[in-house]
Symmetry: C2
Subunit: 156 residues, 2 copies
DNA sequence: AGATTATTTTAGCACAAGCTATATTTTGTA
DNA sequence: TACAAAATATAGCTTGTGCTAAAATAATCT
């Protein structure tokens, strides 16, 4: 549990400074992003997983996705419906799931980004277990420019 | 739009390698985390904002929170109810919102982490606008150990 | 082929976060 | 002090992601 309850003095001044530094509009904008991008994050996770499963097993079946994602197969099916609606995947009843071209593109991008973030954290000195866990969480929020900066750090 | 459609060759081998490297259990575990931590993220955002508003305006009112978060006041009210239920804040009808001790602790932790992540990205060479946007997204997923590594980088 | 097993679908529920429209309460001012 | 404006609350809807239980379909194995 992070909140370690220490270092609570002389905070007030810092607070005001922080708040003043960024415009209200910018704050609202980024929070808007945060809020509604949850669906996009899930799409990214699914699409990457589907691509993995096709590479490993030759096909992506709901039951395997459910196992890997730690959810029920019903949840997978429903989400797949959404992804289909949004043009990331295709699937026929009782058949496995395939990526559209758009979906493949996303999967490739997501995988590269994931690997880069992980490498970056490792090189930064984060223990492997934490690095893997954090990479899962933060990968969705890494902009192309931040990704580029990470690449420079890893390669440089 | 990130997926840039290039570099799609010789991916297949890499995919299998990636998938094999991490255990199925570990993957499921982290996805579980991803899924249900959305509520925690929102709590962190609200708590930090409430703390900011109290520091700036003397009190945290729903209408100001709504403005900053880019949502309606109704949404704020409902979320505040949830936060109250979870012990982060207190509030009386038609009055402003206050943090519990637990809420203050969280706010302090979150603010420090946010500032560290932002400083880190800036030092890494990410342009300010991107750094600020990305910090909002990734801050919730930074474990204490990754935070420590960032601190070392910034200070070292 | 037929029965069993595995998988997928359907139906129906909960909860969180979003919205609009409307009612209520507080606040500020003529 | 009463009235208008501002803020908050309530009612009721949507969407997305969870769940369980039960029905339908596909696969498998004598």
């Amino acid at each position: 549990m992070p909140p370690a309850s220490k270092a609570k003095s002389k905070k007030t001044k810092k607070k005001a400074a922080t708040a003043a530094r960024r415009s209200v509009e910018a704050t609202a904008r980024s929070h808007e992003r945060t809020r509604s991008d949850h669906a996009r994050e899930i799409a990214e996770d699914y699409v990457e997983l589907i691509d993995d499963l096709i590479a490993e097993c030759g096909e992506a079946r709901a039951v395997d996705m459910a196992k890997r994602l730690g959810v029920t197969q019903v949840t997978v099916t429903k989400t797949i419906e959404r992804l289909k609606k949004d043009g990331w995947v295709t699937s026929e009843p009782y058949r496995s799931v395939f990526l559209t071209d758009k979906g493949k593109e996303l999967a490739d991008y997501v995988r590269d980004r994931h690997e880069m973030v992980l490498e970056f954290l490792l090189k930064l000195g984060v223990p492997r277990a934490d690095a893997e866990a954090d990479a899962e969480g933060i990968e969705h929020h890494i902009s192309p420019r931040t990704l580029a900066a990470m690449k420079r750090y890893v390669e440089g």
